[in-house]
């Protein structure tokens, strides 16, 4: 094995997946994520962006092909098994436990490793100090942006190798969106590989190391975020204008 292939963390190998038998959303999707990368997945509505994350996390059945994490086949594993192997998932909506307090939400994040809870809480406290200040507040009383923080913090409690973010900026105000992107970059700098699916293609490409453009259920092409921002086809289809 060459050094380059050893660095690969996750491979999607010709993955076919769909919600209903016979109707596949992912049609032979292949991509590769290296350790420590921040990957952005963009594409038009219905391209299969969210489905890709859900298939990777075992929420949508994979009918053909496979996902490989660190050399192990993880296709169609149960969610709790994937969490154990170091995958954290933040859904787009309904991503907190509303009747639980912030602290209890975080405790659920570390459910499989209660002995590491205290230690992880300190780490998370550095990233999200506001959550610790308000730890006894019920998550159901928080705003959308605050919930997004709780959701990310919960997913980070297990110290995952890779964090999957499903449209983290959706439904947030522009200021909160910026905050989310900056925070995602921060988390990535702490050594967590991140795969994010985004509608806000420009902001996403600005912060990510590498982007994948998904189209009709396959990974159409990949390049660094900066390259994709300048790519005429990407500009025309997903960015609208050259912009700022």
């Amino acid at each position: 094995m060459t050094a380059a292939t050893q660095d690969v963390l996750i491979t999607a190998d010709d993955v076919w997946a769909g919600y209903i038998p016979g109707v596949s959303i992912l049609n032979g999707c292949s991509l590769e994520v290296k350790k420590g990368e921040l990957i952005g997945i963009i594409g038009p509505n219905g391209a299969g962006k969210s489905t890709f994350l859900k298939a990777l996390f075992g929420l949508v059945p994979v009918t053909e092909g496979k996902f490989v994490l660190d050399g192990d086949d993880i296709t169609n594993l149960r969610a709790d098994q994937l969490v154990k192997r170091g995958i954290g998932f933040v859904p787009q909506t309904n991503n907190v436990f509303p009747s639980l307090t912030i602290l209890e939400n975080l405790e659920m994040g570390a459910y499989q490793r209660p002995q590491a809870f205290k230690e992880r809480l300190d780490v998370i406290g550095d990233l999200f100090p506001v959550l610790i200040e308000r730890k006894n507040q019920r998550a159901g009383s928080l705003s959308g942006g605050e919930r997004q923080m709780v959701a990310m913090a919960r997913a980070l409690m297990m110290d995952p190798k890779v964090l999957l973010l499903d449209e983290p900026s959706a439904g947030l105000s522009p200021a909160r969106q910026d905050e989310t992107f900056v925070r995602t970059r921060d988390i990535n700098k702490h050594g967590v590989t991140v795969i994010m699916v985004e509608q806000n293609a420009r902001r996403c490409l600005q912060i990510c190391d590498r982007g994948y453009v998904l189209d009709q259920g396959t990974a159409a092409y990949t390049a660094t975020g900066q390259e994709l921002l300048k790519d005429p086809k990407v500009i025309e289809l997903y960015l609208g204008t050259l912009g700022a």
């Binding site: 509303p98 009747s99 639980l100 405790e107 499989q112 019920r138 997913a155």
Partner: protein
Amino acid sequence: MFTRPDRRFYRAAALLLVAAAAFVIATLVIGGGPADAETVEPVAAGTSTATLVIQNVINGLAFGVLLALAAVGLSLIFGTTGLSNFAHGEQVTFGALLTFFLSTNEQVTIPLVPGSFTIGLPLWLAAIIAVIVSGGTGWLQDKLLWNPLRKRRVAVLQQMVVSIGLSLALLNMLQWWMGASRHRLTNASGGRITFGDFYIGTQTLMSVVIASIALLAVALFLLKTRLGRATRAISDNPALAAASGIRVDSIIRLVWVMSAALAGLGGILLALFDNGAGFDSGARILLLMFAAVTLGGLGQAFGALVGALVVGVVSEVSTVVIAPDMRYASALGILIIVLLVRPQGILGTKERVG
């Protein structure tokens, strides 16, 4: 949605505590210990309405606590799986009848098994075994029925219809086993504790104490243990609970065991309170349990307690003015009124959106 108790809950809890404290002090100061049931007959003919009402409130609170214990499992199952389990009443009956079966000195039989016999265990031992076996039936039905249905993604409405069918089947099996007559768990009169013009049966008081301890244990489990918090997380959002690494199916299995065991214990205590149980004891209070759970706030574990207390007190006090046979109807009337005023139930909360 087992929300952490908020201010409203603490206010309700404080009121209950004050009432309970007053009750205990009154018992100690005025009553002066257990009295002999044969000689004391405190509520005599010609008692004032006020006295009658207060006595009925006492009976109603006692009934309410026992009803809460029987109903809390209904609430737990609804909260974690979304299922309105119509077979919960038979679970309540089963606890009482199994206790009778194990403890009675009469001859008992098992359908299709020839001959009759007497087991005659002490009541407390029979009750413990019955609660354990009840929990086992919860494990078994989740293993054989509810978990496979969930796996095949059968919707909760269809599951509810299954539970109605199961309820009828179990009701008939219970009648086949125990016949149509009522069975008394104990023949001891038990005596009464009197305080002034009022009284409470010692058997009833003991049942209420046991039920309160069990309810407290459930509350502590949900709030203070990791498993309990995971249970609340599942009722909030099962998909996210799974994504957090919680094994949702094993916790739902545990909830079924707990719910069935608590229903069994509730059935036993209600049989002591009611001087007996028949094959349809649970079926008779099924709607009251649903009323209690809905009244308190669907899926709220503490809602079952508050709702059951309201149902108990209203149904007992209503007998002052209307025929005793009608008392459950008045409790269901209260349900309609409360839901018109507070659609989410007494303790139910509305979530902030976004």
